[in-house]
């Protein structure tokens, strides 16, 4: 029952196709190892005043990785990742402050809780076929509802929020170090690496492959016997867990959590921006995007702290740095249709193909 290969009146026919090399696991993992080692030296390399920026990069990378899994690979465009981020952050502080639980355990609890939230809301949304832009806005509404709920609930301190209590000395168990200690960076880095690996192996697993297939065509996947709902929810749960870990790390580093900060729409947006800048639906995109977006606002602010001569009439009027930041974001979006990593990869593929 084998086809004779048809179509081909002459050779060279396959010139007209895009090929895809099976991705090599070793290569990616090797690059990851090298990047990790190089990144781990950052606390020694970066000027101290930039350490906070480096931490922000890590948090962005975690959040964007979570968002990218759900929206980029899973095709479920989320505009409400603040919900998972906030659940992670709140689980951390509530358990730590209220019950003296180690932040590490709280982190796991937060991840589990966020995953449960994702599964619950996702189930309802998919059950009722809420899709596309409607789904995006529904996730947003859920995040906003959580924010408002936290705001009005005295049990989680309402708008006052939580402080992580200061300790007299450093403690791994309590996840607290001296201000600006390199441990924060290393732990953040480790979390990013773990999240990266989680996504990497998930995508290579059966579930991950189904998730991508479902993104490409849900009905076709169902027709082949894939239980669409189950794998959409699995993907959402993992993405939510990663985002929650980002939230817990955030809480431990910034030591302050309130509803607007961790559940506000700014977090939902912050999860998206690095992924888009780096390249949606690529493994490295969110990480690269975070490295660009994280320092961007600081760079523009530094650049314009003392406005140049020509603009000195604007001195004392804030906003110029944000204007520059906005212009840069616009330029990046216009110039890099597939994000930085996506665009570069495309160029490489094109070059390789045209040879």
């Amino acid at each position: 029952m084998t086809f004779q290969t048809v179509t081909a009146p002459d050779a060279g026919e396959h010139e007209g196709t895009v090929r895809r090399r099976p991705s090599r696991a070793r290569g990616t993992l090797g690059v990851l190892a090298v990047v990790t080692v190089v990144a781990a030296t950052m606390p020694f390399v970066l000027p101290e005043s930039q350490q906070a920026v480096a931490i922000r990069v890590l948090i962005f990378a975690l959040m964007a990785t979570g968002w990218n899994l759900m929206s980029g690979y899973g095709g479920m465009f989320s505009f409400g990742n603040a919900a998972y981020f906030g659940v992670g952050a709140y689980a951390d502080v509530v358990l730590l402050v209220g019950f003296d639980v180690s932040p590490w355990i709280a982190m796991l609890a937060g991840a589990a809780l966020a995953a449960a939230l994702a599964v619950g809301t996702g189930y309802v949304a998919f059950r009722y076929k809420v899709r596309g832009a409607y789904f995006a806005l529904a996730t947003f509404a859920i995040a906003e509802m959580l924010r408002l709920l936290a705001t009005d609930t005295t049990w989680v301190n309402g708008t006052i929020g939580y402080h992580v209590p200061l300790l007299q000395e450093e403690s791994w168990w309590k996840f607290q170090f001296e201000a600006n200690a390199p441990e924060y960076f290393w732990i953040g880095l480790a979390l990013v690496v773990v999240a990266f690996l989680a996504v990497f192996f998930y995508l290579r697993s059966k579930a991950g492959r189904y998730a991508v297939a479902i993104r490409d065509d849900e009905d076709a996947a169902a027709a082949l016997g894939i239980p669409v709902m189950r794998y959409k929810l699995t993907t959402m749960a993992l993405a939510a867990a990663i985002t929650a870990v980002a939230g817990a790390f955030y809480a431990q580093y910034y030591m302050f959590v309130d509803p607007d900060i961790v559940l506000g729409q700014a977090q939902s947006i912050q999860a998206i921006v690095p992924a888009v800048v780096g390249g949606v639906g690529t493994l490295w995109g969110p990480v690269i995007g975070a490295v660009i977006v994280g320092p961007l606002s600081t760079v523009t602010a530094t650049l314009l702290r003392e406005p140049p001569e020509a603009l000195s009439f604007l001195a004392g009027r804030g906003g110029l740095d944000v204007v520059l930041y906005a212009v840069l974001v616009i330029v990046i979006v216009l110039a890099l249709p597939k994000g930085l990593y996506g665009t570069i990869r495309q160029l490489v593929i094109d070059r390789w193909r045209s040879r």
């Binding site: 009146p9 010139e15 094109d350």
Partner: protein, 236 residues
């Protein structure tokens, strides 16, 4: 004479760094019915997309009525009378048959009602469904609507991409009959068809496209007799 028609010279084109057409040349004179036949993936649709401005050529020229049209955008090409019925039909799904047809006459400012009557006369099945939304119609009716919509712009050159695909045998006939009668009204037609035998049967001339290169051309009836064509495309 030929500068009244379409002339493609040494055109190459492709998708994001991937070349599909390798310097093809062809022409369609006024009032001619010309077909392009070729294997799946040979680049037939790509050729039509290129002419109608949906795709840009990376090299070569396309002229119509003596004027360069490559690099122009689709609506500018439509205004010159070169109109395509695409493979996917691209109907305005939620709109009624009537509205689809009237939109087809976008570039025509007068006599739209008469045109409409002509199209309904050509496709009575459409006349019965004036108010029906395009997306609720069956495949064949949608195909007729797509052709009808293209006719509404009083094209001078009509390009059809596989108009009979998915149609019942009965409708296939009706559509190809319609194509012939369109040509008979003086409209030039460039036709891409899987049913190469039928297509060649009604064509004045035809080209054979293989892997983005034109390998044969000649009168339709002559190609239909050509041994290579018969073997490769007619399944004989």
């Amino acid at each position: 004479m030929s500068d009244q028609g379409l002339r493609i010279e040494e055109v190459s084109a492709g998708y994001s760094g991937l070349q599909i057409l390798h310097g093809i040349s062809l022409h369609v004179d006024a009032g001619e019915l010309v077909s392009i036949v070729g294997a799946n993936g040979a680049g037939k649709s790509t050729t039509l997309r290129l002419i109608s401005g949906l795709l840009r050529a990376s090299a070569g020229t396309v002229t119509y009525a003596g004027e360069r049209i490559d690099g122009r955008r689709p609506h500018e090409i439509v205004r010159r009378g070169v109109v395509q019925v695409s493979e996917g039909r691209d109907l305005f799904g939620p709109m009624s048959v009537d509205e689809n047809l009237r939109l087809g006459a976008w570039t025509v400012r007068s006599g739209v009602d008469e045109l409409l009557d002509e199209v309904y006369a050509l496709f009575p099945a459409l006349a019965e469904r004036r108010r029906q939304a395009a997306q609720t119609m069956s495949g064949g009716q949608q195909q007729m609507l797509a052709i009808g919509r293209a006719l509404m712009s009083r094209p001078k050159l009509l390009m059809l991409d596989e108009p009979s695909t998915g149609l019942s045998p009965k409708l296939t006939w009706e559509v190809l009959e319609a194509v012939r009668s369109i040509r008979d009204r003086g409209v030039a037609v460039l036709l891409v068809e899987q049913n190469a035998a039928q297509a060649l049967g009604i064509s004045d001339r035809a080209y054979v496209l293989e892997s983005g290169t034109i390998v044969l051309d000649g009168p339709g009836s002559a190609l239909a007799e050509d041994a290579r064509v018969r073997k490769a495309y007619l399944g004989l």
